[in-house]
Symmetry: C2
């Protein structure tokens, strides 16, 4: 008799994307496939100083077990970071530190989802969210989006129909959509939360990565003080991964009191606490005052790359592809139109692209339901402008082949 596994594993499968990533080792490949920031952007010197200070000033705290809720000086820094982005009245004890924002999703799943519960997500949404929630038995419902984010009328109808346990959104430069939820829709979503007493989960790892002409609309967490009662129905996941370093695994979760307490209990039995060494380093870094300059630099570099990718796509693929130029984040979301008799099957296109020496991710796996097989995601984060032009030229050749 072989080993028997838990029934919850029947709901998930190894990702098709993971298989694709195995091909990326091929020499000379230009990759638009990753979902990660450019290592060259990391402020290694600033993080080196921060880690040294942490070990010099507070070696006990940096190396010993810590509170499950997180290291208090970091919680204070993160609350101040959110306040700097317009969030009002956020006390450090209203957030917990998580092992990357992936763990915040896991804790929300563990805390909230009973097998069979409905959860509304965007179509498309973050792949690891789909799998994470399915492991807790969620029955996912997909709400359609456009370039202004989730369609709030359809969302309201779906909330009414499915009475979901919660609604999960990436309102700002979403992965994979790159879409930006408009201010008007943000307000409407918060009103829906209150009206239907339905929790909204705002996942916001990309909000700091905006390009010109300036910051996007405030996060729903920042906006919540304008919509009475909405803070009671809002959870917010933040992360240092895209702006400072994913390797620290420092994210945070803001949530209503009782939910935060339950998530903390679940975290206690998940990993006890997030690395105190990483937490003390992050706290020292935020205290050092280097963050604004780091953000400025990262925004500028990614803005140039996004610009180059948009121009190249238009030039090389013309009317065979359609997309909205992203105003921030790491991703282009595009659709193959099939114009000129070219393929509109993104998986087929991905295979041909690999042969031509360029990689991207087909969009279908990002849909919890009813995948759009003509969609694809292109990251402009890790290739420089020259590589982006060359890579998109290869895409053009692949589509013509």
């Amino acid at each position: 008799m072989p080993l028997q596994f838990a029934s919850r594993l029947d709901n998930v499968e190894t990702s098709a994307i993971r298989e694709l990533f195995k091909l990326l080792g091929k020499p000379g490949i230009i990759s638009f496939a990753g979902g990660f920031p450019d290592s060259a952007m990391f402020d290694v010197e600033g993080l080196r100083e921060a880690s040294q200070k942490a070990l010099a000033e507070e070696p006990g705290a940096a190396l010993q077990y810590g509170a499950t809720e997180g290291y208090d000086p970091l919680r204070a820094q993160l609350a101040a970071f959110e306040q700097g982005k317009g969030v009002q009245g956020l006390e450090p004890q209203q957030l917990i530190v998580t092992t990357g924002s992936q763990q915040a999703l896991d804790l929300l799943g563990k805390t909230l989802i009973s097998p069979g519960d409905k959860v509304i997500v965007e179509g498309p949404t973050f792949l690891a969210t789909i799998q994470c929630f399915r492991l807790y038995g969620a029955d996912l419902v997909s709400a359609p989006i456009d370039s202004n984010g989730v369609d709030v009328e359809r969302l309201e109808a779906l909330i009414r129909e499915h009475k979901p346990r919660f609604v999960y959104l990436i309102p700002t430069f979403g992965n994979p959509s790159g879409a930006l939820l408009s201010l008007e829709r943000r307000r409407k979503v918060l009103e829906l939360a209150v009206k239907y007493q339905t929790l909204i989960v705002e996942d916001d790892p990309y909000g700091d990565l905006y390009f010109t002409p300036g910051p996007p609309p405030p996060s729903m967490l920042a906006l919540s003080h304008e919509v009475p009662g909405s803070r009671d129905w809002l959870a917010h996941c933040g992360s240092l991964s895209k702006v400072l370093s994913p390797g620290l695994r420092v994210g945070w979760l803001v949530a209503p009191t009782e939910l935060l307490a339950k998530a903390t209990m679940c975290k206690q039995f998940s990993d006890a606490h997030t690395s105190t060494f990483a937490q003390a380093t992050a706290a020292q870094y935020l205290r050092s005052g280097r963050m604004p300059a780091t953000l400025e630099r990262v925004r500028q570099v990614y803005a140039e790359r996004a610009q180059a990718m948009g121009e190249s796509l238009q030039r090389e693929l013309g009317d065979a592809i359609e997309f909205t130029q992203p105003q921030g984040g790491l991703f282009f979301w595009a659709r193959l139109t099939g114009a000129g008799g070219k393929t509109s099957d993104a998986a087929e296109f991905a295979k041909r692209a690999i042969e031509k020496g360029v990689a991207f991710v087909p969009g279908a796996p990002f849909f919890a339901k009813e995948p759009d097989r003509s969609s694809l995601r292109l990251s402009f984060a890790t290739a420089d402008v020259g590589k982006i032009r060359e890579g998109v030229a290869r895409l053009g050749a692949a589509l013509a082949s």
Copy 2:
């Protein structure tokens, strides 16, 4: 309508011990309550150098996203570390790095336990294991132990009766029992695993913390090559928390191939990967060659403290308490005998002890079933010899009061 939580939360409660810990802030308290190592033992200088080297030599790897399985140079070091303790034929790819060994428990729960499944644990066992497995719906069965570890005849009967999903043991200086599973029983447990095709989970965070006269019997992982087929039914959780630093949150899981693959998939959606900064630091530390001297120092200090605690308990509490002198680890496990009309209720004793300025943890919460209310756990790890003598004197006064 208030927020609704997942049904799995009905199976757990906030720990009584957590409440007790809130009292530890009282000035002048001597604490035998913690389950953590002494911060003064940390090799801060060695870890400082290791973290600097990690950032200097491999900043990309130390700060970027990493493989869910773990950072390969660390996996190689950990495999070598296990080989140094007699484990044969362990390849780096047969282990994954976990965010502390707590996460290994969480991944085993997520991967293996369907609601209602039976899991056998020792009575008493690690409190966070009980809660962790219950969150996945486990119905825990308690196997009795003595000072030689789990009673293997009773264990066999329980395996036969309950056909558990797996058996969870802390065979070496267990928390809270301090017990050491004898060599003969270790062999027998491995034979039971093969005979009943039942997975054994060996949790081994304390095995390196042995006192005179030398190392304990080999871990079941090391012994498995002597029992044909047993490696297919054995998972092993290791940790750097008790010997190097809990704050790094670096543990590891060795498991049969298919189980390791499923656990890796679950980890992907739990926290993506363990902090690469912590992993690269740990890898550099293990490579630096400082570990043997660190282990030697830690063993010596804890051995002196264990000696002092044993002598003091005998002197101050006499026949009102019974215990076996531990040969390693961090804990004394003791029973109040009620001799001389003194209380045999450990919770009552704990309250009186706090009044006298000393803290410990009552044993009852460590039992998944049928708690022994006369039992208690005393940690000798964090107080020095003078404090241990003074603290135990206070225990004597509290028991006499």
